[in-house]
Symmetry: C2
Subunit: 198 residues, 2 copies
């Protein structure tokens, strides 16, 4: 039976698009924006805040939370959103095979003992710059590289904070693929073939 | 055309056996002990020393070399063996598709601009302990884990010394596979299918 697949990705590596194609090809649900929407309804925060706080971290997570959407706990909005997303990830994975993008899903499902295969998509910086340029248009070259590295750093900090593991460490993944070298189609093929072999 | 494949592996992950099966299935040369033999003839050191020094490091590489097999250069036997293996790896890769195991071959070929796909095989410590136990018999459990971790450390030190890169860092590989989770057959299948797609 096709397993739950988590796809973790460097910013600009095409991981999101690869995950979407894998889900399409295997005919199973794709959970990315979907998770955001559900977490939004559950936590009371609007989509924009969840999108901003839901996978990135500035490191400033511990603060008194006195926002309207929460009560007087020592929990930041980011913590609340994390817990809400965590609940949804577990619920969805328990329903059956699906593709989940990022949001510590590899760690969450492994900790919960829910069978899954964990995949990392990465690429060299030049491929990532090209992809981000193609997607978001003509921002100056130096700004793109800075933006990519900042996004990586935020995701790594977020992952470290909630899992106490190092993002990108090979031992956390069953399969890590360089989409810059192998190309998007080969990545989709590799993941689908692997999934079908279970 | 099938590319040159380098296979890098954690001790006890089954990487050697996977590499051998991939070469067999693709019908291309397999270079592991073969490299050792050739380097041995080239450098003048016997196979036992090459096997000991050819991929492991105690970190004590820089010393005056006054051995019979070499001249009075500031080069250790390990440096000489590395250079000899490096030469052979480049020569063999230039001949055509083959599978090369470890010995910084991923770094050497990439630096030389020789097209190749670089693969890392890793596994959780329990799978590796089981494999080493199956292969080498009833050494006490604690001794096996110590031995595995020591071997990892030696290979990492060796790799760092000659490449100035971190062994196991995901960005050095096109494909990293967990053989403990996926099993040897799936690893062979994945690598062969990838190789055939070029």
């Amino acid at each position: 039976m096709i397993p739950v697949i988590t796809i973790n990705r460097e910013f600009g590596s095409g991981g999101h698009s690869i995950a979407q194609k894998v889900a399409q090809k295997l005919g199973i649900p794709f959970l990315d924006g979907e998770i955001i929407d559900k977490a939004s309804k559950d936590s009371g925060y609007c989509n924009e805040i969840i999108e901003e706080q839901g996978e990135s971290s500035t490191g400033a997570n511990m603060w008194f939370n006195i926002s309207a959407a929460s009560t007087m706990y020592f929990q930041s909005p980011q913590d609340e959103i994390y817990l809400s997303q965590r609940k949804i990830i577990i619920e969805e994975a328990k329903k059956g095979p699906c593709v989940i993008v990022g949001r510590c899903s590899d760690y969450i499902l492994t900790q919960e003992g829910i069978p899954c295969i964990n995949i990392l998509i990465h690429a060299d910086i030049e491929s990532r710059k090209k992809r981000v340029l193609d997607r978001y248009g003509d921002i100056k070259d130096v700004a793109i590289e800075k933006r990519i590295l900042k996004k990586d750093k935020q995701r790594k900090t977020y992952y470290k904070y909630y899992t106490d593991q190092t993002w990108g460490h090979y031992q956390n993944y069953d399969l890590s693929i360089d989409s810059g070298k192998l190309g998007e189609d080969r990545c989709v093929e590799l993941i689908c073939n692997l999934a079908k072999s279970f």
